[in-house]
Symmetry: C2
Subunit: 320 residues, 2 copies
Amino acid sequence: MPEYQDIIEAYHRINDYINKTPVITSRTLNKKTEADIFLKCENFQRVGAFKMRGAVNALSQMSEEQKNKGVITHSSGNHAQAIALSAKLLNIHATIVMPRTSPKVKIRATRDTYDAEVVLCEPTLEARQTTTQNLIDKHGYTLIHPYDNENVIAGAGTAAYELLNQVKELEMIFAPIGGGGLMSGTSIATKGFDPGIQVIGVEPENVNDAYRSLQSGKIQKNETINSIADGLLTNLSERTFSILQKNVDQIITISEQQILDATRFIWERMKLVVEPSGACSLGGVMSKEIPIKGKRIGVIISGGNVDLSHLFEKYENLIN
Amino acid sequence: MPEYQDIIEAYHRINDYINKTPVITSRTLNKKTEADIFLKCENFQRVGAFKMRGAVNALSQMSEEQKNKGVITHSSGNHAQAIALSAKLLNIHATIVMPRTSPKVKIRATRDTYDAEVVLCEPTLEARQTTTQNLIDKHGYTLIHPYDNENVIAGAGTAAYELLNQVKELEMIFAPIGGGGLMSGTSIATKGFDPGIQVIGVEPENVNDAYRSLQSGKIQKNETINSIADGLLTNLSERTFSILQKNVDQIITISEQQILDATRFIWERMKLVVEPSGACSLGGVMSKEIPIKGKRIGVIISGGNVDLSHLFEKYENLIN
């Protein structure tokens, strides 16, 4: 399990490769919640999500031999982009296994912007895993798991660490939970910084495996993946489960409507492009399930990658 | 014509009522333009646009008698919202004349969020002016023009003044031109701060009255209002024309596609919600019509009010 010290070391290790992201506040939000809310805007991070922190931290700690052989991951999401860009910056060969049904724009971005090798496979979990394993067997690539990895977790924790050093006297920190990597890192950073700060996880009601896992004391799986928070559909691993058990004060779950309302609030009122997964943490704050009145609250906005082609097609039609 | 000193005084006068907006940078943008670009994000201003600065500055300088009688404006755009909120903060009665075809959400926001009196009229310029004049005659309201007003111009200039104090050694400042209020204030602030800084105005090709006015030496009118930059459709006034003639180094015009490309870049890559009018200044930078290589460039992003209901309806359909 990563320690607080690992997060501090990770922060200095990755510092030249990541953005120090701004903290944004809103009078309207503070008035609405009757609290002082500080949004840690990882949507402004490179590749548009906190995932860059864990990816750089993991890749830069590989052995020379591993670096020479290259890295691999299977994902079509933010983690894949983060691995691809980190590998490019560190001169490591990266292979990204993606379902052949992935949006072309995503495949192109991964290939062209980040120079990664994209290998397409059938759109099933089994095909992804088999394809990945075959490539590992053949080339000796190192697999970087999106969250079940100590260095990825330590890297993810640097967002909260940075926030705690940007904004003094926070009393609570909210973060979203998917596989638990961000939540694990956030909780280690926060409790290491000051054990008195409350750490709150927020999960969609529809994919509440972490909530049920902590309630029952053993890992529970999601039965559906039916949420607009498409970055939070994964299950905890043993590693992230045990970190959350130790460090997280409370997990709350919110409805799809609450996720959407928080997302819309951030777009319309705060003028930030965030993904629904990234807005979940604020959805938890706005749900008022936890008394927050008068408190200073840090909120990790985890990312801002959404498909805007629909919106811009409307504009294209207007001008053509 | 407002002087540099008027802008400094305006800045101190309005300081408690406005947001000090952040300056956002992007590695990708700097790489793409081969320059150091600093976006002054007035989309984060109260009511979502720089208009708040001019409105507060104008209203707070009214006489006690004028304040007691109230203010009026006819607009369905950012200026109306800015007048309504400023009036609320300063305890002044505000009347906003809006076409009865305005989006309901806008009418509601003006009425409910800002407590302004909304008077609906037929959707013609003549009806707006007649309705407004009748109300002035009856109640003695003071009309606050959206840009043909010295105090509004001085207030608008505080955005550039703030930027020049946030980012040192800027060599150029780009701002969009509609009626010329923002451009006037920006140019006075910039030339007052340091006459060596180049001031560049950006206008949509389709509504290039300012460009033609400066070329010909006399005010030209727009023949169409056919641009997605719907905040830039207005014509210069004598006042803003003479300020631009004196202070602006160059006006460049960009196509609708260039406006859209800049807007999309800011949304997708920088994760900021901006309106097409607000992105025009960056569109001018990205057009490379002016040599910018290696330069430090300030760019005023004027606002971020766009109708997102279409986008969120898609999400609503997903979850219901």
